[in-house]
């Protein structure tokens, strides 16, 4: 082998495989984790904002507005199975969106 060919061979030893499922899977996992964290942050900010608005309304309108709001909920909460159904529907809708892809497959 000539020195040029040896140099080429040496440089070729750094070549990564053309297809590496492990590398791509690692990347997709990091992307999914990143996406999940970003959504959790968005939800946290939204929850804080809604909480602040509700707190402001309650403070502005007085405690009786909360009592009025919750009195209308009595019938809904007491309906058998309604809360469970709501939890199942929410889990069905949101879990596939926020869980990393690797966990769903």
């Amino acid at each position: 082998m000539s020195p040029n060919e040896k140099l080429t061979s040496f440089l070729m030893a750094d070549q990564a495989p053309a297809f590496d499922p492990g590398f791509i899977a690692g990347l997709e996992e990091r992307m999914a984790r990143d996406r999940l964290l970003s959504r959790l942050w968005q939800l946290a900010v939204l929850a804080i904002a809604i909480g602040a608005v509700c707190f402001g309304l309650a403070m502005a309108s007085g405690p009786q507005v909360l009592a009025t709001a919750f009195s209308g909920m009595d019938g809904v909460i007491e309906t058998p199975g309604l809360l469970l159904a709501a939890i199942i529907v929410a889990a069905g809708v949101y879990l596939p969106r926020i869980l990393p892809r690797a966990l769903i497959r």
Binding site: S2, L7, S9, F10, A18, F23, L27
Partner: protein, 176 residues
């Protein structure tokens, strides 16, 4: 017909992670090879490549011309490696490199002695020279493309390749 980089970038910008996955499948082998050539440590280079792809994915909105996705991606990788090099102590890095070299892929048709001599010569090159050698000699990029990625004039790229190649050949006892 496979989608162009620009089409995949547009889809990824709309939130389709699978489109970015296709871009990663398309460009990660060359990106990893380039970073391996610069870092001289395959494990570190692969970590850097993954970091580069994640950074590109997060900053996809800032890519002005989707047609130059490949150059943009490699530019991110080059800057990340440069930052890492500055952060890590040079002596520590050199020791790490020497120990890592032992477990890496062996070149065909080269004796272990020649391989070690070439590895030592690669370490003796400046990072800029290694990057130019890795992109143009190993990766087959044009001088213009390399100049865009590394943010250097074409004349500097040519000079780095000429000097770097001469030093590597000298390590093999060939013409300098």
């Amino acid at each position: 017909m496979p989608l162009s980089d620009a089409d995949l970038v547009a889809a990824a910008r709309r939130g389709r992670d699978a489109a970015f996955g296709q871009l990663a499948v398309r460009h990660s082998p060359a990106l990893r090879s380039f970073l391996r050539g610069v870092c001289r440590d395959h494990a570190l280079a692969d970590d850097m490549a993954q970091e580069t792809l994640i950074k590109a994915w997060r900053n996809l909105a800032s890519l002005e011309n989707p047609d130059v996705f490949r150059s943009w991606l490699f530019g991110i990788g080059w800057r990340l490696v440069s930052q890492h090099r500055r952060a890590a102590g040079r002596r520590l890095q050199r020791e790490q490199d020497w120990s890592d070299v032992q477990g890496q892929q062996r070149s065909e048709g080269i004796s272990q002695q020649e391989s070690l001599a070439l590895e030592a010569a690669m370490h003796a090159l400046t990072p800029d020279q290694r990057a130019c050698i890795s992109l143009c000699l190993a990766g087959g990029w044009s001088h213009g493309e390399a100049a865009e990625v590394l943010d250097m004039p074409v004349g500097t790229i040519k000079s780095h390749i000429k000097r770097g190649r001469a030093k590597l050949l000298a390590a093999l006892g060939g013409e300098a």
